[in-house]
Amino acid sequence: MSIRLSGNEAVAYAMKQINPDVMGAFPITPSTEIPEYFANYVADGEVNTEFVTVESEHSSMSVCIAAEAAGARSVCATSSCGLALMYELLYVAASCRLPIALACVNRALSGPININNDHSDSMGARDSGWIQIYAENNQEAYDNFLMARPIGEHPSVRLPVMTCMDGFITSHAVENIELLETEAVRKFIGEYNPENYLLKKENPLAVGPYDVSPYYMEHKVLEAEAMKAAKARILEVAAEFARVSGRHYGLLDEYRMEDAELALVLIGSSAGTAKAAIDQLREHGVKAGLVKIRVFRPFPGEELARALTGSRAVAVMDKSEGFSANGGPLFAETRSALYDVKERPYLINIVYGLGGRDIKTGDIEKVFERLADIAVTGATGPVYTHMGQRSKEDMV
């Protein structure tokens, strides 16, 4: 079914089709519309979800954790400081191995306070044990949320899943997208039958007990193994989703990479801008390409290394500033992934788009100009730079 929806509407509609048992609901810009739309579905009797309105995101995630431990499917949505306030509970959800589905509408973190898009919120939570899947557009935001539960619920995984989309750019812009029929969604999601849960009276369960030193590390290894296993499960679910929808997804998305000498690595809605710029450059004979990272946790290191092998110069574009003084989080992962490659491309890092700073095809072209110079001269210049800020010096 073809329809015009904003990213937030699309995710709220996916939630409606899933018909979860519980939603922990607390509003924060730009994700507010998700619980708002969903509240309409609840009020109109279109879902039989327990819609729990709480006083903070710390509580909305706590609601999801409790519900999930009880054996219920729970969902949540948040942004920015809301995700930051959940921080403690994000680790609890992951370590208790509860497959909560959270829609994160990416927004800059305070401070200074700002409501616009970058990835600093979810990147801050990248090591919390959550699977992270990023959308380029509204269609992907919808599709990713539908895939979240089947990925997280599988016994080989049992981890919470955060599906991310760019605040306002994706969450509020209206696009034509394809929806699955609700019956097809229900069939795709299936019944939720966890092996153990608090309401199972046959065997009383304790969740999240205190873990002394002789056990903590073993449980963390179990969690790390689950994150490794998630890679295969994500691809399995994507294959099943392709059968239902006709839309194909991998861990990453390669665009015109087959013969690319110059390449970008980035995440989210900027991929659309980059693709447009690459099409223009290709018309002028520039062998430009893009690798869009769709799944950031687990990180597709081997797949990324394979995709970049053969390219001569690569720019990793981070939409968050990690303050490592050594490059952004995507750069750290990419450089690490390339370490074992014999013929490594030259690599630079560009931090861009913070707090809603716009990026245009002209900006992308400038990055490729710099990559073309590096490919010829072999001199990368400063490896870690910012783009889009006003400066007394030349940018890029």
Partner: protein, 102 residues
């Protein structure tokens, strides 16, 4: 199903439960947590009137009761907090230094 009795500090990670979940009640009985104790209560039976004030105050249920009378401490679970000595109206409980059971 992995039961608590099958788990100990030599169990490899592959044989532990995800998230440390425990699939049965009452597993505290299987684990000696009295070793955390640095002070130890001593029970003087002759001074005890079996008023039972100490029993509900014990945070670890480490004072067993049988036929209306309290028995000696369950040193496998007593953490030596000393609350029992504090609430006892009689000289029936005294705390001594050290974790060894008396």
């Amino acid at each position: 199903m992995i039961y608590a009795k099958d788990i100990n500090e030599r169990t490899p990670w592959q044989d532990l439960t995800p998230g440390g979940e425990i699939y049965e009640p009452g597993t505290a009985r299987d684990f000696d947590t009295g070793t955390w104790r640095t002070n130890t209560p001593v029970f003087h039976e002759e001074a005890c009137k079996h008023c039972m004030l100490c029993v509900p105050f014990c945070p670890d249920s480490a004072i067993p009761v049988k036929d209306g009378k309290r028995l000696d401490f369950d040193y496998m679970h007593c953490k030596g907090c000393g609350i029992c000595e504090n609430v006892c109206p009689f000289p029936a409980i005294t705390m001594v230094t050290g974790g060894a059971a008396r």
